[in-house]
């Protein structure tokens, strides 16, 4: 059953060397995940996206029949 291994360290167990190691490892993996996400988020936004927003503007102008400045 998968439930059996849901908890890495049982709650009544004193933090052991192993439990501390697991937590440290989990934190390191967490940092790596955030780094991966942040790396993409910090990339310059490609021009395509700006073009798209400009197209939205143009479409709105055409539909509304007036200039949005």
């Amino acid at each position: 059953m998968t439930q059996q291994w849901e908890t890495t360290v049982s709650k009544d167990e004193k933090p052991t060397e192993k439990a501390r190691a697991i937590r440290a490892r989990q934190r390191a993996i967490g940092r790596e995940l955030r780094r991966m996400f942040d790396d993409v988020a910090q990339e310059p936004v490609p021009d395509d996206f700006m073009d798209l927003l400009r197209q939205i503007d143009d479409a709105e102008d055409a539909k509304g029949g007036k200039k949005v400045s």
């Binding site: 849901e6 790596e32 988020a41």
Partner: protein
């Protein structure tokens, strides 16, 4: 700031709040790209998805309630778009290898390229549900509650998905060595699941895989 929620029909292009909305949208594009990348696992598909999301968000802007979490609202749209694109691709061309390769999240063998970190590769081995929960909470900075709203499931479900995702990642990355014998999954269930997913990912004939998942 507008005090009343605009109706669907209130789509006048010169609403003053549209300017603010677009400014906020612009500021959130980097996060949309990052979330899209984590779902699809590749840059091109991710940027297409993020752009589709922007268009959808703009078209639906009248349904956004000012003062609520725009980032969560956008991520919800992006996630819905991701799954609906993929479902459509399965329905329309399940026999078409070329189309299968265009499916966001499909053709994942390419992500096993050398420049991806071990963690990025391991992330591709998780189920969609576990991966998205872990990204939202672990990297996107969302609360369990917001993540539950985005994924349309209970808060407890998100918590358990995140916990299982973390454990699975560690097992994939460290090869089970960090877990003691007593904490190993009974019968190596997780390991079997991971191996099954790896097998699926490395299957060259993705079209056949897609065909299998085709609704009858």
């Amino acid at each position: 700031m507008p005090t009343t929620a605009p109706s669907m029909t209130n789509r006048a292009p010169d609403r003053p709040e549209d300017g603010d909305f677009k400014t906020e949208l612009l500021a959130l594009i980097p996060f949309l790209r990052a979330f899209a990348r984590s779902l699809t696992g590749n840059q091109e598909g991710a940027d297409d998805l993020a752009q589709e999301t922007l268009v959808k968000a703009w078209q639906s802007r009248a349904t956004f309630i000012p003062g609520t979490n725009l980032k969560a609202w956008l991520f919800t749209i992006l996630r819905n778009q991701f799954y609906s694109d993929r479902r459509r691709a399965w329905r329309q061309a399940p026999w078409d290898q070329e189309a299968a390769e265009r499916i966001p999240g499909g053709g994942e063998d390419q992500y096993f390229s050398a420049q991806l970190s071990d963690t990025a590769r391991a992330l591709r081995c998780l189920s969609d549900e576990q991966r998205e929960a872990l990204i939202l909470v672990g990297a996107g900075g969302f609360s369990y509650e917001d993540a539950a709203g985005i994924c349309k499931c209970a808060v407890g479900t998100v918590k358990s998905r995140v916990a299982r995702a973390r454990k699975a990642l560690m097992e994939i990355l460290d090869g089970d060595d960090t877990l003691g014998d007593t904490q190993r999954p009974a019968g190596g269930e997780a390991a079997r699941e991971i191996m099954a997913q790896l097998d699926r990912l490395s299957t060259p004939d993705l079209g056949a895989q897609v065909g299998k998942r085709r609704p009858k």
